[in-house]
């Protein structure tokens, strides 16, 4: 076997350079660890850059009644109590400090009259809570973190994809990766590894996610033996673009509704009155997405199969100032002037609540040496995430993961592993070049996306899910045979053949979990089980690999302490 690869060594290796990965790196660096960060795209292009609406933190700058307790309660209720309560608590308590820290590193948020950080309303949040920069909050966040990271001396490996974690007797000690550019291999030795690879949305046809979101981190952790949790909870954002075809799925930020946008059906009815008369457009995402879906299904949709979202009753100048990128996005891509007329929107696959199971305080996974944060980790959001809670999640748990990883690395012995793992990883990666099949990975991906879109979408049934499992099985076979043309030099077809493998793992995990959960909760809606089931309120679905096969287990929720229960019970209004 070719042993042609370079080797790098770090105390802490962070896979993923989005908000979570960068925040983890900064913290590990501050602890004196040597840190390397790997990302599939160029630095600064991760999903975090696309986040628009804002970052949730109970700073109480606009609504002085806000505090961590309310934020905690909103998060738990939004997640239908399936959240890890300790994570929800830490998140609510620590996010204001994390936001302030960003500001001290040079980020510039929109301001209140008094010169504090301005906050806006968002779905499911009791108070105006989202710190924002117009509608490009994620850009501000990732630039701030990235520039600081580069200044502080993080080693960044751009356009480099990890395809396998290397282990040594149950402990994660390294990673195998290839450079996308030249197709050459690189092996990382590390005492601790943080996974911050984001979500899985690319397995669906209509999604707000980019090519990067193929669930790599979850697949890596799964293959290394870590547990995945709550995989059935995939968030469909209620408002993605529906027309023209090329932009289908691209996100329309919730900030449009936060700033007063109104949803209507073909007949001009403000249909949210039917589904959630109290919170209307600012209901939680699962509710709004299902409402739009139902309107369309029952024949009240717009010309291109969506709903109308209208902000044109606000002054044109205000809209352009608070939602500039939405204004341009519609103007340039859909020929719609949102200051004059409504947008057409429909649900789009957006966010993964489930992921790698972690411990709340340290973000450590169920195997040693492996940590996870951000969208790749599970727990904080339960069965449904509130808008704005992701960016704060990245900062709070990115920091905690970096801290714990650095501390773990201090105590850990030097990295070592059995080199046969490398040979195997190489062989697997190069297989598509010698496969005899004629099918291109793109064709397989298209079919996978159809399967997930049609059978594991917003509404699910037993029949659909079972059918999906069969289809996934066939796709696995096709993937193993798919072949690629060309050389190893920047070859997207080849890259996709690995991504497919990861997508299939997470797709199967989602489907298995969804089939098992015989209730409807948060983002998981079963037509055959339309109600919440108190029994399932106490259980997580766990996915783990056992003797080469995917197994599902159930694990009871940890009991919530008295004081938190009280907070939760307060103001049941």
């Amino acid at each position: 076997m070719t042993t042609n690869y370079e080797t790098r060594e770090h105390d802490v290796l962070v896979i993923g350079a989005g908000g979570a990965g960068l925040r983890a790196s900064l913290e590990a660096l501050a602890q004196g660890a040597s840190v390397g960060v790997i990302c599939k795209s160029l630095l600064g292009k991760a999903h975090t850059v696309m986040a628009e609406g804002g970052i949730a933190a109970a700073m109480a700058h606009v609504d002085s009644a806000d505090n961590w307790k309310t934020h905690f309660r909103d998060t738990m209720r939004g997640g239908k109590l399936l959240n890890n309560w300790r994570m929800a608590q830490l998140h609510a308590q620590e996010s204001p400090e994390r936001v302030r820290e960003l500001e001290q590193w040079g980020a510039l948020f929109d301001r209140t009259e008094k010169g504090d950080i301005l906050q806006r309303a968002f779905g499911g949040h009791t108070f105006k809570r989202l710190c924002h920069v117009g509608d490009r909050t994620g850009l501000e966040m990732i630039r701030t973190l990235q520039d600081r990271g580069v200044q502080q001396g993080i080693d960044v490996y751009m356009e480099c994809t990890v395809t396998r974690l290397l282990t040594d007797g149950g402990r994660v000690t390294g990673a195998f990766a290839y450079w996308r550019e030249a197709g050459r291999f690189i092996v990382f030795k590390a005492k601790a590894i943080v996974i911050a690879t984001g979500g899985i949305g690319k397995a669906w046809r209509i999604t707000s996610n980019s090519w990067e979101y193929t669930g790599d981190g979850m697949a890596l952790a799964y293959e290394a033996g870590a547990e995945l949790m709550d995989m059935e909870f995939v968030q469909f954002h209620p408002t993605g673009m529906v027309w023209p075809p090329g932009v289908q799925g691209i996100l329309v930020t919730e900030a449009v509704r936060g700033e007063g946008g109104i949803l209507r059906n073909k007949a001009g009815e403000r249909f949210m009155e039917k589904y959630d008369p109290k919170r209307m457009e600012l209901s939680t995402r699962d509710v709004v997405a299902r409402s739009i879906y139902t309107e369309v299904k029952e024949g009240r949709g717009t010309e291109h199969g969506g709903a109308y979202l209208d902000i044109s009753h606000k002054a044109a100048e205000y809209v352009k100032k608070k939602l500039p990128s939405m204004y341009h996005q519609f103007k340039e891509l859909a020929d719609v002037d949102i200051t004059k007329g409504p947008m057409e929107v429909g649900p789009t696959c957006h966010y993964m609540m489930g992921g790698i199971r972690v411990e709340a305080e340290t973000a450590q996974s169920t195997i040693s040496g492996l940590f996870a944060a951000g969208e790749a980790a599970a727990g904080l959001h339960g069965s449904n995430r509130l808008g704005g809670n992701s960016l704060s999640d990245l900062l709070v748990f990115g920091r905690r993961a970096g801290l714990a990883a650095a501390e773990y690395a201090k105590r850990a012995s030097a990295s070592s592993f059995d080199n046969s793992q490398i040979d195997q990883a190489e062989k697997e990666l190069l297989a598509p070049f010698s496969n005899s099949g004629t099918e291109s990975p793109y064709a397989v991906q298209r079919d996978l996306q159809e399967v997930m879109q049609n059978l594991v979408g917003i509404y699910r049934t037993k029949e659909d899910l079972e059918k999906a499992l069969v289809e996934l099985g066939k796709l696995k076979v096709r993937t193993a045979k798919a072949s690629v043309e060309g050389s190893r030099l920047f070859n997207p077809g080849w890259h996709l053949s690995y991504d497919l493998k990861a997508m299939l793992i997470v797709s199967e995990a989602v489907t298995l979990s969804a089939l098992a959960r015989t209730e409807s909760r948060g983002a998981h809606s079963r037509i055959d089980y339309p109600n919440v089931d108190p029994v399932w309120e106490k259980k997580h679905n766990i996915i783990v690999r056992e003797s080469g096969a995917m197994k599902r287990r159930e694990s009871p929720l940890e009991a919530m302490p008295e004081d938190l229960q009280q907070i939760l019970a307060e103001d049941r209004s």
Binding site: L42, H47, Q104, L139, R143, W211, L251, L333, L489
Partner: protein, 243 residues
């Protein structure tokens, strides 16, 4: 269905050629959609960078019909329908493969810029009127189209002496940050080559974020350099005030 012909550069650092592909045209289609169609059906190894498909990440830069553009924001129906559409990689950066170029130089330049450092004893109160001006610079999505079009880099290859418009924008964002306490005028003049810019405004013309790079970032920075190094009166004034 209507079809369009794309002439796409295929090749690597050793050279290459443009190859013609026929692509069906759907309503509202952008050039990146066409490239994806080629990838998905005709040439799976076509190298293209992209992420957001919505003009937010700055990955998909290329030269469409000779103009530096984001391919995800270039509508097919805005281009002449009767002629083939040429899509080439950015010219100012070394080619890697097809439309992918080596932009790592930019990341190296960025490292030369001293980061934000708050003035001593600032209260973290900032007025919106101060934020407004700087936010324009912070809109930059690092598409590097301005770097590509700037003739100082494109025609004169001054990569060593010149930071390029993207980083003047970044420095403007730092220099005009209401709480920043550093001065970067000397750096701009001596190491980042602000003087090499002859304010011919091509960067402003191509910026997809509509940042008025030349007028709002570069010229104000040039004026700050003048304050510091070329204006005897201000220099004297500063001496007298003991600053």
């Amino acid at each position: 269905m209507k079809e369009a012909t794309l002439l796409v550069f295929r090749g690597d650092s050793n050279g290459g050629q443009t190859i013609a592909y026929r692509v069906p045209v759907a309503p509202g289609m952008v050039v990146l959609d066409a490239l994806h169609h080629i990838q998905g059906h005709l040439a799976p190894d076509l190298a293209v960078r992209w992420n957001c498909k919505a003009g937010k990440c700055g990955s998909c830069s290329a030269e469409v019909n000779g103009r530096p553009r984001l391919t995800c924001k270039t509508r097919m129906d805005d281009l002449p329908q009767d002629q083939p559409i040429t899509v080439l990689p950015m010219k100012s950066f070394p080619r890697i493969k097809d439309l992918v170029t080596d932009v790592s130089w930019n990341y190296r330049v960025n490292r030369k810029i001293p980061p934000f450092e708050p003035r001593k004893g600032v209260e973290w109160k900032i007025s919106q009127l101060d934020v407004d001006r700087v936010q324009e610079f912070r809109k930059c999505i690092e598409c590097f189209l301005c770097q590509d079009v700037c003739h100082v880099l494109r025609e004169h290859d001054k990569q060593e002496q010149f930071a390029g418009p993207r980083f003047f924008v970044r420095i403007a964002g730092l220099e005009m940050h209401p709480l920043d306490g550093r001065h970067r005028a000397a750096l701009l003049k001596d190491q980042l080559g602000l003087g090499l810019c002859n304010i011919t405004k091509c960067c402003t013309e191509v910026c997809p974020e509509e940042i008025r790079i030349t007028d709002n970032a570069i010229i104000p920075l040039k004026e700050r350099v003048v304050d510091e190094f070329y204006d005897p009166l201000t220099m004297l004034f500063r001496k007298v005030r003991g600053q």
